[in-house]
Point group: C2
Chain length 192, copies 2
DNA sequence: ATTAGATATTGACCGCGGTCAATTTTAGAC
DNA sequence: GTCTAAAATTGACCGCGGTCAATATCTAAT
């Protein structure tokens, strides 16, 4: 027995997403209110939750869209082979992630899926980020004493650390890119 | 003109904290409801918010207390000199951090202070964690090509990464300690 | 065209964190 | 003791995410 997915459903969903994008474009992610979205879309509140498990689920979809577009761009160019090149290639991704505190928090909260069945757009994106970086590192001028998947996990860890500290008054003196550069050089090309 | 802090204030605050601890002991952090706490403490809801900026502020105090006690313990023992010893020394801290998903999320959210004036108990704890690890690394058998404060920041980044992945179904096969060990060996004692 | 069962939508309602003007209590000055 | 200004407490109220039984709409079988 197959699902009979109605046209109406797609239309409503599209209007909700479009309305949400409008709000975000004008006021940012944090300011988004479900009531505003449904009003702009011309549907009842309950309809929203028939389409998205909760507010975060919609946020995940919208954010992952943007992030995946950034990664598309990064993958389209020539694979970076050095630390500075890697940082440049990932700059759009990191820039989006740190543009709004609310965004960063939500990304972290959803970066892992609790169950395989629940892998959301954000968890999937982080997996993709990891894979892309790993491919780059396979061919890059970096240490080869540990496997590149480990190196890629480290890049992710350091990127997140650098973003966290960007929001931290105790470490506000150094810029995100500078800090990440120091981290990645020490991680990927150790002098020992 | 100094503040005239009343005895009543201290008493009310103590009762709120004690009531909160009871709830947490019985039902965990996530289940805590402000209404339950004020009822158990026998005060009105508004009183709660006269004592704590918001619910998170109380959580911060309670969690930081526990975490600082763990660090006290870690500092009391002999300073660890190798990766396995460091992992053992930090085990109580990491164990608490990953015991409840809600706790981990809140810790991350408050790990940095937005403004110097707003350094909360959690941000302060992370600073202390960093300093303790740095001291250990100063005397430990680890790489010396980069300063120990950088190494300590890396330890923190990898610990958080390992905790995140613990909650991630995509990486659930490896245990937290095993993963952290792999990370820290690659970070602190690279073969190049 | 009719009908039936699945699917989508509705909006009143709930839970819970947080606010604030009004009220009560406190601690010092006299 | 009395008065007074500051500090603490109160609880009705609000905002907003999320629920669910009732209702409306669609689709396919006949």
């Amino acid at each position: 027995m197959q699902k009979a997915i109605q046209k109406r459903t797609l239309k409503t969903r599209a209007r909700l997403i479009s309305a949400a994008e409008d709000v975000i474009r004008n006021e940012g992610y944090e300011a988004l209110r479900v009531e505003d979205v449904v009003q702009a879309a011309g549907v009842a509140k309950g309809t929203f939750f028939a389409h998205f498990r909760d507010k975060d689920a919609l946020m995940e979809i919208l954010m992952a869209d943007t992030l995946n577009a950034c990664l598309d761009q990064a993958e389209a160019g020539k694979p970076p082979g050095t630390v500075p090149e890697i940082i440049v290639a990932l700059e759009p991704v990191h820039s989006f992630m740190t543009a709004e505190r609310y965004v960063f928090d939500l990304l972290i909260r959803h970066s892992g899926a609790v169950a395989i069945a629940e892998i959301g757009p954000i968890a999937y994106f982080f997996e993709r980020y990891f894979r892309v970086v790993m491919m780059w590192l396979d061919e890059a001028e970096v240490r080869k004493d540990v496997p590149s998947d480990l190196l890629a996990e480290g890049v992710q860890a350091f990127a997140i650390q650098a973003m966290s500290l960007k929001y931290c008054a105790l470490h506000a003196s150094t810029s995100f890119s500078d800090r990440l550069k120091v981290y990645l050089e020490a991680w990927l090309t150790p002098a020992r």
